[in-house]
Symmetry: C2
Subunit: 403 residues, 2 copies
DNA sequence: ATTAGTTGGTACAGCGACCAAACAAATTAG
DNA sequence: CTAATTTGTTTGGTCGCTGTACCAACTAAT
């Protein structure tokens, strides 16, 4: 059945065509290289229909025939793969001390990964200028490779509403900033859509598409930066809540008598299980990485104090994860950011807490794993978000066949 | 755009037709009485198409023409309304001490509300027999009124997986029971689908369709029975999580030093803000209602101890609600069950906690209200669930036009 | 080398569903 | 009584999927 998102939203032929184009495109993405016959057999579409759809996708340069054929009985198949070359998706991640930009082709292959320093104290205008600068460079590079930009999604650590306005980003000092609009202006009508989203949301998209549990339809991603946020994917899609402010787990109170949090409350998850709770002193943002590496060294050396701290933090983190598991019953919770290098010591106590606290048997089938995507997961997620919109039917290259 | 749920799921004309039939049906439900021209103008469908769709719906006896016309310039319109008479949806709610059954017509009007005593200690077989008995009586009554049963949904207080198997219902003493299958067997091939779901989930559906905030696309319903559970609606649909075990908020720990919970842990939401925390003594299930009424009387009389208890419980409940608001950012959290009569005293501290604890400004736009649906909300939600499946395209009366 | 068998892809007619526009119907305004 | 207005149906057209037939290209066996 076709399920429209909501309200009176009728369907017509264009929708059927767009849906089936997207179905074929997704199939090629997931089963490349494959033949038209494969597609017809697996999707249930008629062979003739598949031929027509594939022709359309080839016209739009989304799919390409590889001359290669298989070696079996019968006529050999002309295999199809995604055509990586003519398109690119851009994801950008704004952090306290740097901006990361990632570009991928249609298949999700990384084309470039760039970084630029960034000052959190900057005004919104300065921030946008900095992001605009790196994006312009990426756009130019893509133009040199003769790639059309499919879109840009920017990850911001903070509250972003459904329209893409940054409502509150404490670590950047931003409030009610229309980054998307400003950026589009700075890029002077770029000709591709510019989207803005929360970093945890985009990291979750990255995990769903590129992570070890890619394809999971119910997945939560917990970012382990200075702040802790959750990106929530349920039934295959990001769930943002009414205003787009979902996933704010960082200041959920674990213990009324817990340590003070920088937000002014006590016993927040962020205060008890954020990366700050692991470090012995509070370093500047740029030094956190170094401090974490020091903790890893100490833990590897078996330093009792460090191990004990990690165990305690792990238990607290486990309580946070168990809230997620009880409330949302995801297949997997992915720990990102600074949790990744610390995972060997954090995961066991997290698992223990989870089995203790989740009501459903065996933690409701909820696995907890460390991310394998590296530090720019949110930027990669930005690209994933652009690819998602392609996958769900808004194809580029709308020109029809030969006149 | 058409968005298929997931995977390779192509669309064809039948899907277009089903989608548009559902669109028209929903429109008539929400705007009755209305004319074909209204539908065409509001949905964007062509007038001719609307005529065809309406004719189809009339053939299926889902919609009816009222002779009435409006009094304006131009040709008078023939108004359309949902045809209540030929169909019925049944919802059943299993509780510790009773079973409630509700039947509604297509428009959601209650046709009957029945109750039957029930013993929690009974085996699954005895329980199914009891439910089967009341369902059979409802089915017979509906048959007498010449109504076709569209479906039956049963609400169970416990963990229900996506297939509808009751994994764990502590208050009933059930475990791994295929209530749906057993019930279908007990009804001897009833000719309509039998579904089983968690009581909080179905209560949430009832709120979304019949409650004061009907139509909200992001809504959470908190049941205040002996246990506390949440039904989570995001982006217009119930979200059940990977295995269907979402919403288990009752044993989220609010305070490591809190009072003991019957689950063996400490400081669970259920122990600190469940109805048990309000009552002075632990009564038998049948007596809870009386005890709650006594608490209301004391509160109304201004008894200081009672007021103080309610204030404290309200603050704890507010902490639970704030977790929901931070994590899911719903438009509204509806408090049900025994929270309803106590709402005048519980809501103020809940609101206070919410404004204190939710990171987004103004609690992320999250309202907290008491349910207005009465004690059989989950049963009503069962009917709502049946109506939902009609609304999303699985129409009855599949026979085509004239033979 | 020839033939049979198998599989891949295309061509063509048919059908179902939507749309646009013209038309018929029914009522009010003047 | 005519003009204006609005409703709903009829007619013709387009689009996109389906089924069938057909051709193409290769393997395997005779």
């Amino acid at each position: 059945m076709i399920t429209s998102t909501t309200g009176p939203q009728p369907a017509d032929f264009a929708d059927v065509r767009a849906t089936n184009l997207a179905v074929v495109l997704r199939f090629v993405r997931e089963h490349a290289p494959c033949s038209r016959a494969d597609i017809a057999a697996s999707t249930g579409l008629n062979k003739a229909t598949v031929s027509s759809l594939v022709a359309d996708l080839i016209d739009r340069r989304l799919v390409r025939e590889t001359g290669l054929t298989e070696n079996r009985v019968g006529r050999p198949a002309t295999m199809l793969v995604l055509d990586g070359s003519p398109y690119a998706a851009i994801g950008v991640e704004i952090n306290v001390d740097h901006v990361s930009a990632v570009a991928t082709d249609l298949a999700g292959e990384r084309l470039l990964t760039w970084r630029r320093s960034f000052s959190a104290g900057d005004s919104v205008n300065q921030g946008v200028a900095g992001v605009g600068a790196i994006v312009r460079r990426v756009v130019n590079r893509m133009a040199k490779e003769e790639r059309q930009i499919l879109g840009l999604a920017v990850a911001v650590p903070g509250l972003v509403d459904v329209q893409g306005t940054v409502r509150l980003a404490p670590s950047l000092g931003w409030r009610d900033a229309d980054i998307g609009g400003d950026l589009a202006k700075a890029l002077r009508d770029p000709g591709f859509p510019v989207q803005v989203d929360n970093d945890a949301n985009l990291a979750a998209l990255a995990e769903q598409r590129f992570g070890a549990h890619a394809g999971a339809s119910d997945l939560v991603c917990l970012t382990g930066e200075i702040g802790v946020g959750a990106g929530i994917i349920l039934d295959g899609r990001l769930r943002r809540g009414g205003l787009g402010h979902s996933g704010e787990i960082g200041h959920v109170q674990l213990d009324p008598d817990g340590p003070g949090c920088h937000c002014g409350r006590r016993g927040c998850l962020e205060a008890m299980a954020g990366i700050g709770a692991v470090l012995r002193r509070i370093p500047s943002p740029a030094e956190v990485q170094i401090e974490v590496e020091e903790v890893v060294r100490l833990a590897e050396a078996g330093d009792p104090g460090t191990l004990s701290t990690l165990h305690t933090v792990g238990r607290h983190l486990g309580r946070g994860v168990s809230i997620l598991a009880n409330l949302l019953n995801p297949e997997v919770v992915v720990l990102g950011g600074y949790y990744v290098p610390l995972a060997p010591w954090l995961l066991p106590p997290v698992q223990d807490e989870l089995s203790d606290r989740v009501i459903a048997a065996e933690a409701g089938g909820c696995a907890v794993v460390a991310s394998t995507l590296g530090h720019d997961a949110a930027a990669l997620g930005g690209a994933a978000r652009v690819l998602d919109s392609i996958d769900s039917g808004s194809l580029p290259g709308g020109l029809p066949r030969i006149p």
